[in-house]
């Protein structure tokens, strides 16, 4: 699927251009919107912090004012008690008065250390409590109720300072459902020597506190809670958690470091804000300690509440932008597709033309823009192409005709040299074999031989250049050799006459190298004239010649010099053109004279044909598949005694 989409994008220019436009637009929009959303979110967050903090401050102030009254009543009672320690019965009056003066309070104890009043025994605690509006006063301690082991008494004694106890549920054993949450403010009492003598404790119901704190609701789904010093929930909307659980309880089962960290911060009496998950919902929790109680109040605000409107706006804007980008892409795509429609048409037409249908006419919509110019250029190209194809057809026809003619010319050229072997079937004393292989259809090499008056005339030549001009020059040279040699001249004379004829009117400055020889078959005497040709190989060695002369046809009046060998009977003579020793392979490495001499070693037992075939095969092997770089002519001769 992914590959298909990529392939589609690669194939479609309108789609690609549209995507580029949309991507660029998206980047700009996302950057702008991201900045705007970031700033807005920060502002909303700050507003939420201010709002929650204000409400938290106000609530805590309200609660603290009430708790202060409790503390003041306990402090003033402690002050009174210290001044009337000698009157134990007055303690009942003081505790009673506390409740009379503060009807909202639930109870007041003025409890002393064991045997503080020896005459009163181990226990002495004046306790007044509010029994449905009726204030009852009694001596609280006895062997069944050893108050000095209880938190409210022990804590302020051991800590040596006033304390608020952890809230606790007070209920009537006869009516177990009538629970009421109570907290006590306890102040240690000391005698004039600074020794601890007892505790004044004032109890207050926390129902009102729970109502005040629970009413704090800055957002529709936000709620408030309060934890004690031990982390226990004393105000919480979930009654299953109230008193029964602490802020750390759930972390004992499913570790939640953020909640634990929040609990510790609240226990330490810090105030601040934390962002964490509460009941799997992202929330902001604002918290502040409640005066000197050791308790901490927190407002939990779900992030969805704080950023509800903002998130809605963001979703709407994001959706609109996304839709807009899609629309932009659609419009861009259609517009570009429309603008590039001639190109599409052009591409289709071009494909038709490419398939060989040159008659297809290209559309002309009269546009003068880039597309119009491209269309015009394409039309011009089409016309040029049609003309070129026509010319090509003619050229091809002509070439085929020339090739046919060249083939005929090649056959004619080959027919000009003797190709019947054995050359002299009736002469057992002559072993002669020759071959000619043009590099192209026709070549510039030649050889010839004939017997006249018991003398064997022979030659091997190589015309400068290749192809048709060389072949024509070769034909002329071969005919000249046959005509002049048949007049019985020595090789040097033959060379002189051929040179004179060829040099005249030789505007093309063509020439031919040639080795001309004449063997007296009776005596084995050899006369020869080398006209700038490769030195023959006799019995595996290059023939050592004094005169190399110039090639035939170059300069008219230059004398040629001939040479002779006394008797060549039994000797193996190889004449060749440079197609042998200068044959190149694909790396332009030539076969070389050394290799030639090497090849010619140990071939004395071979007849002429075998030698020629062996050398042709060696050249083929050396070329290793490369095209022949020159004509190759070989002639091997041995006159037996």
């Amino acid at each position: 699927m992914k590959l298909r989409v990529i392939s589609l994008i690669k194939k479609s220019l309108p789609l690609r251009l549209s995507l580029l436009v949309v991507i660029f637009a998206a980047i700009v929009l996302i950057a702008a919107l991201g900045f705007m959303f970031g700033v807005s979110r920060q502002a909303i967050r700050q507003e939420a912090i201010n709002r929650a903090t204000d409400q938290l401050d106000n609530t805590i102030q309200r609660v603290t004012n009430i708790l202060d009254k409790v503390e003041v009543s306990a402090n003033s009672t402690e002050w009174l008690v210290r001044r009337h320690l000698n009157f134990p019965d007055s303690m009942f009056v003081y505790s009673h008065q506390v409740l009379e003066n503060n009807p909202d309070l639930n109870g007041c104890s003025i409890a002393f250390e064991p045997y503080y009043y020896p005459e009163r025994g181990r226990y002495f605690s004046a306790y007044s409590f509010n029994d449905n509006g009726k204030i009852l006063t009694t001596q609280e301690g006895n062997e069944h109720y050893e108050y000095f082991y209880l938190d409210w008494y022990q804590l302020c004694k051991l800590l040596d300072c006033p304390i608020w106890t952890e809230p606790f549920l007070d209920y009537n054993p006869d009516d177990i459902n009538s629970e009421e949450m109570i907290a006590s403010y306890c102040k240690p009492m000391k005698n004039e020597n600074g020794e601890y003598i007892g505790t004044v404790s004032v109890d207050i119901s926390l129902g009102w506190l729970s109502k005040i704190i629970s009413a704090v609701k800055p957002y529709p789904n936000s709620y408030s809670m309060m934890i004690g010093q031990g982390g226990t929930y004393f105000v919480h909307p979930d009654t299953n958690k109230l008193v029964y659980q602490s802020i750390f309880t759930e972390s004992m089962d499913h570790p939640d470091s953020a909640m634990v960290e929040l609990g510790h911060a609240m226990q330490r009496g810090e105030h601040g804000m934390r962002q964490l998950k509460v009941d799997n919902e992202d929330c902001y929790v604002f918290f502040k300690p409640l005066g000197s109680t050791g308790w901490s109040v927190a407002i939990v605000c779900p992030e969805s509440d704080i950023f509800g409107s903002f998130n809605k706006l963001r979703r709407t804007v994001t959706g609109t932008v996304f839709g807009g980008l899609l629309l932009l892409m659609l419009v861009c795509s259609l517009s570009i597709r429309h603008e590039l429609k001639p190109l599409t048409h052009l591409a289709l037409q071009a494909e038709t033309i490419a398939s060989g249908d040159f008659s297809k006419t290209l559309p002309h919509d009269g546009r003068s823009d880039e597309v119009g110019r491209l269309s015009e250029s394409f039309t011009n190209m089409q016309h040029s192409l049609v003309n070129y194809i026509e010319e090509l057809k003619d050229t091809t026809t002509q070439k085929a005709s020339i090739e046919r003619e060249l083939k005929v010319a090649s056959e004619i050229q080959m027919s000009m040299v003797p190709r019947m072997f054995p050359a002299f079937p009736s002469r057992k004393d002559i072993d002669l074999y020759a071959s000619i292989s043009p590099a192209k259809e026709v070549g510039g090499d030649l050889y010839d031989f004939f017997i006249q008056d018991e003398k064997l005339n022979f030659c091997v030549g190589d015309v400068s250049g290749k192809g048709v001009p060389a072949s024509l020059f070769m034909a002329v040279t071969r005919n000249l050799f046959r005509i002049v040699a048949q007049q019985g001249h020595a090789p040097v004379e033959i060379a002189n006459q051929i040179n004179t004829i060829l040099a005249k009117d030789n505007d093309q400055a063509m020439f031919v190298t040639m080795f001309i020889g004449k063997v007296d078959l009776r005596t084995g005497h050899l006369d020869y004239c080398d006209c700038g040709h490769n030195a023959p190989v006799i019995d595996g060695q290059f023939l050592d010649m004094k005169h190399h002369n110039q090639p035939l046809g170059l300069i008219e009046d230059v004398p040629f010099y001939g040479e002779s060998m006394e008797n060549i009977k039994g000797k193996q003579i190889l004449l060749y053109t440079d197609g042998l020793n200068e044959a190149e392979n694909s790396n332009q490495e030539i076969l070389g004279n050394e290799r030639l001499i090497e090849l010619m070693q140990g071939v004395q037992s071979m007849d002429a044909r075998q030698v020629v075939d062996m050398l042709a095969a060696a050249v083929e092997e050396h070329r290793a598949g490369a095209e022949p770089n020159d004509d190759l002519t070989l002639l091997c001769l041995r006159v037996e005694g």
Partner: protein, 346 residues
């Protein structure tokens, strides 16, 4: 009044106070006191007749409903007692009806006690019989507030239950020469959290997790486990008076077997057991939660496994009885040796 009756009165009153304290009741202690006076009257009369439920076996755990007694709730809820031919009723103690009082008044037939508690009572002259031993290990720990080894806190304030249970800690304090300043309290946890004590005694299945629940950083470095330091003495077992046992041996045996079956089922089905425990917790309006009870159940079940055999053995170990008796005698918490033979159901 005979000596053993005095002892029983004292222990009953301690338990009574303990339960009153647990409820943190301030305004209602007077009514509690009134009821106490009535029960003391009854105690003096010692009516040795079964005043409740003729033919019913009344079992009273030593504390309010919690996972510490899960096996008995399971045995009742799953019908193990009924299958044993017993009609058992579990009656939890209340401020006016503590467990031992109910036993002595023949209102309950069996209760749970820690081994050291039972030895103290026997030492005072009350003959008790252990009909089922559930705990095989000691659960008591000392937790230090300052993150230090409690053994280094010589002379410091250490919270102890005002209602008892601290016998072993007192022995350890003497033997290790720690000279702790014991602070008796109804609720050790609050004193500890507020920083009023430097360390506190706790049960590994109860107060220990309550401390964890307050967010205090409790780690093994600051916890001293008695069981790991030569004070491994068994705790919870089911006891009844020898007088009752002699007359109802078959009934006691059936109760012990069905209770054991309840514990074994609880070990095999902890989640269902927890459901049953929470039912009792809710019915009795106990201030706790499922997570605490789950941890308590796991720990209680762990403590029931003999470290050496790796099995749940349900037997009193003579060596542990001897160890507890020797320690308490040495530290003068017992006047006489209490032997294994005195405790077991012969």
């Amino acid at each position: 009044m005979p000596l053993y009756l005095k002892a029983v009165s004292v222990i009953i009153l301690i338990q009574d106070l303990m339960l009153c304290n647990k409820m943190n009741t301030r305004s209602n202690w007077i009514s509690c006191s009134r009821i106490r006076s009535i029960y003391i009257f009854f105690l003096l009369l010692l009516v040795s007749v079964n005043v409740q439920g003729q033919g019913k076996f009344i079992f009273t755990p030593q504390w309010t409903a919690q996972a510490q007694f899960a096996g008995y709730y399971v045995a009742l809820e799953k019908g193990f007692y009924k299958e044993a031919g017993l009609s058992v009723e579990i009656v939890h103690p209340s401020p006016t009806q503590p467990a031992l009082k109910r036993i002595c008044e023949n209102q309950s037939h069996a209760t749970t006690l820690q081994l050291c508690q039972a030895m103290e009572i026997i030492d005072e002259g009350v003959e008790l019989v252990n009909i089922l031993q559930t705990s095989m290990n000691n659960a008591m720990v000392i937790v230090s507030r300052r993150g230090v080894n409690p053994l280094t806190q010589k002379g410091e304030r250490v919270g102890i239950w005002s209602a008892g249970f601290g016998q072993l800690a007192k022995c350890m304090n003497i033997k290790e020469k720690l000279n702790y300043q014991w602070i008796p309290s109804a609720t050790n946890v609050n004193l500890f959290v507020a920083g009023a004590v430097d360390a506190t005694l706790a049960m590994s299945y109860n107060e220990y997790y309550q401390l964890v629940q307050t967010g205090l950083p409790v780690n093994e470095k600051c916890v001293y486990r008695f069981c790991d330091h030569g004070y491994n003495v068994q705790e919870d077992g089911v006891y009844m008076t020898r007088e009752y046992y002699e007359k109802h041996r078959a009934e006691a045996k059936k109760f012990a077997q069905a209770s054991r079956r309840g514990w074994e089922w609880a070990a095999a089905h902890p989640e269902e057991t927890l459901d049953i425990v929470m039912k009792y917790v809710h019915d009795n309006q106990i201030v706790t939660n499922r997570i605490l009870q789950k941890l308590m159940l796991e720990e209680i079940l762990r403590l029931q496994i003999n470290r050496e055999s790796g099995k749940r053995e349900f037997r009193l170990r003579p060596d542990m009885v001897k160890r507890a008796s020797d320690l308490m005698l040495e530290c003068k918490l017992l006047k006489h040796e209490v032997t294994y033979e005195q405790l077991i159901a012969k």
